[in-house]
Point group: C2
Chain length 390, copies 2
């Protein structure tokens, strides 16, 4: 282990990067451990070891379905959000003999935009909806684009960087009138806000375990009954022939437990986190004149605060505020000093986009965390700006 990457010892930084990934909740780990221990069977085996594993998978399927408001047989387990998105997008287009066109947005995660590009390279026409300055897709623009009869509409439910929630229901209503399938990447919204497949009016919906306190490496795809889909990975007949490979029993059990927890505590926890997030915004606004909010002030995930610290680079700010672990964009894009494509699409100026910090709160975030983190961020900004503390 090199020194840079040694485990964090002593006081760990305050974690405000829940949109990048969440810890596994103790209740989730408890649900997993039997299957990393004595109940290790392969769900395809007919003996008792297999049957108890199969039971765990099917129980978890019920829990995921209950959270999303669908039937258990409409849930396919995958290795995560990326695979769910690939299966939804590539699988639905491949299921039509003649391929088909796609309507998406300019602010999708690469797990959606890349499959769309792949289809584009194979002859599908892909149309990308723009967003307004709050990061919201225009329903009217969607309506016009849907006149061209795409086979599939895929627009994310909530944006990973800004937390802005899209008007999925409104777009979906139009899309379904036109006969298009509707997919939404709900990786960021499931567990943070109510997500009901019928309320949203979607045919396909992607879930990523590690964004809702389940482990990394597990996800789910909701597939409305009757929606034609082809597998992307092929092999044995697991998951109704749509996703081959021995089921990841322990992690699936964990995802089930995480969904049960989300269902039972979502409302109270969302409110708690939103209050903390708004307090964080208030304290930061007081300490950082000119602080700007990115994203919709109201139609936004309750845990997400994306702000521009004026006149500094977010990378430098986060290096300086060592007591805070947050992101200068989405984790998947880090490492470069290019401005976030999401913010750019919203018309945020390059200099502002380079100063944007995503602060995302979660179940572990406390009042003290918020106070300490705000102080550290304000202090770091002052150091970089050469502003004396007030």
């Amino acid at each position: 282990m090199n020194t840079l990457a040694a485990p964090v010892t002593g006081t760990r930084p305050i974690y405000l990067d829940y949109n990048a990934t969440t810890p596994v909740l103790p209740e989730v780990l408890d649900a997993m451990l039997p299957f990393l221990g004595e109940r290790f069977g392969n769900p395809s085996s007919l003996h008792p070891y297999g049957r108890e594993a199969r039971s765990a998978v099917e129980q978890a399927r019920v829990e995921v379905a209950l959270l999303l408001g669908c039937s258990p047989e409409e849930i396919i387990f995958t290795s995560g959000g990326t695979e769910s998105n690939n299966l939804a997008i590539l699988g639905s287009i491949r299921a039509t003999a003649c391929g088909g066109d796609v309507l998406t947005s300019v602010i999708e995660h690469p797990a959606v935009s890349r499959p769309c590009e792949l289809l584009e390279g194979r002859g599908s026409v892909v149309t990308r909806l723009g967003v307004d300055e709050l990061g919201v897709v225009d329903v009217e623009e969607a309506r016009k684009a849907l006149d061209h009869l795409p086979l599939l509409l895929t627009v994310m439910h909530a944006n990973n960087e800004t937390g802005t929630i899209q008007p999925i229901r409104e777009i979906a209503d139009v899309a379904r009138e036109r006969g298009a399938l509707v997919h939404t990447d709900a990786a960021q919204s499931v567990g943070k806000v109510p997500v009901d497949v019928d309320d949203l009016g979607v045919d396909l919906l992607s879930v990523a375990g590690h964004k809702l306190y389940a482990p990394k490496g597990v996800g789910a795809l909701y597939v409305r009954r009757g929606v034609p889909l082809r597998p992307v990975l092929v092999g044995a007949g697991h998951e109704r022939g749509l996703r081959p490979g021995t089921e990841n029993v322990a992690s699936i059990a964990g995802l089930g437990a995480a969904c049960a927890l989300a269902r039972n505590t979502l409302q109270a926890e969302s409110t708690r986190v939103m209050v903390l997030r708004d307090r964080l915004w208030n304290v930061l606004s007081e300490g950082v004149p000119g602080l700007k909010l990115n994203g919709h002030p109201l139609r936004r995930l309750p845990n997400t605060l994306n702000v521009v610290f004026p006149g500094v680079r977010s990378s430098r700010l986060l290096e300086t505020a060592v007591g805070v672990a947050a992101s200068g964009g989405s984790a998947c894009h880090e490492g470069g000093e290019t401005p976030s494509p999401v913010l750019t699409a919203m018309g945020v100026a390059r200099v502002d986009a380079l100063g944007a910090v995503r602060l995302s709160l979660g179940r572990g975030t406390t009042e003290v965390d918020v106070a300490v983190a705000a102080e550290a961020l304000v202090a770091a900004w002052r150091v970089l700006k050469g502003t004396p503390a007030s």
Copy 2:
């Protein structure tokens, strides 16, 4: 939880189905737990939570590489053996502008045969090598087929049902002379026999975590430096752009620990298990006149014993021998009363194939297990045959 699928209580059946899946070893679980706990970061994040996660992934990559005799940068982490096989087969064919033909065998796992069929449907010529009565691919037949210059040769290292080990090196030597890429599905062999990518002469090699005491839902693909490959799932740029999605850190750490254990104890453990396996064969042979071995008597995985119990159905035998958990074929094929395609390909008569039982031993198997299981199997066979105990 329905009663059928309730957890096994009281005495658990003796597990002789290690080829279906293995338990997670305590040392492996220990390696995983920190990442299901405090070290939960996303490896793409730049803050300390991310860096410690990244470090774990890269350490595990070193361990997998050490076991396989390759460089860490030649290892791609996947969600399991099926995905590794899909990536190897579909990814290598897609990497050539004009597609390409495939040479495979008739005894591959669906995770290999189905991707080959998919390619066949898209214009690739797929040739399937037969096997002899011991389940071994013919090197001469391979040599002739390679004259047709397939782009890819994909033949499994060891068969999941019989344990027969294929002459990969011999075929690979011919294939490489002809300029073909060589892939082997080593899901069943890694951790049971020495697997070295240079000794085997392969370009691509698939590993399934849950066959070698790592958890389900994680695998690896060895990709020899310079081998052209395209991703099958697309998204963000993880795993050198070949496998998108947030890394399954805990399970990857587990796979690394399992590979380290395999490397350190493989020789001793293989010998121990082989002695037990051969004892099982001896006791069964004494108790069951006409018992037949399926597979190669010598060139075979040390843990695998596939035998025909004459005159009975394996499904009935395993229902009767309630104290033993074993398989009547590979787990992925169970549920039907069709004879195993692998045994059929070897020329095993239908009636014999329906009486075949796969007994696969592992690290948890003891001398007592073998004695008790043998007795239970012999007793069950006698009950079904109406033969009085001797």
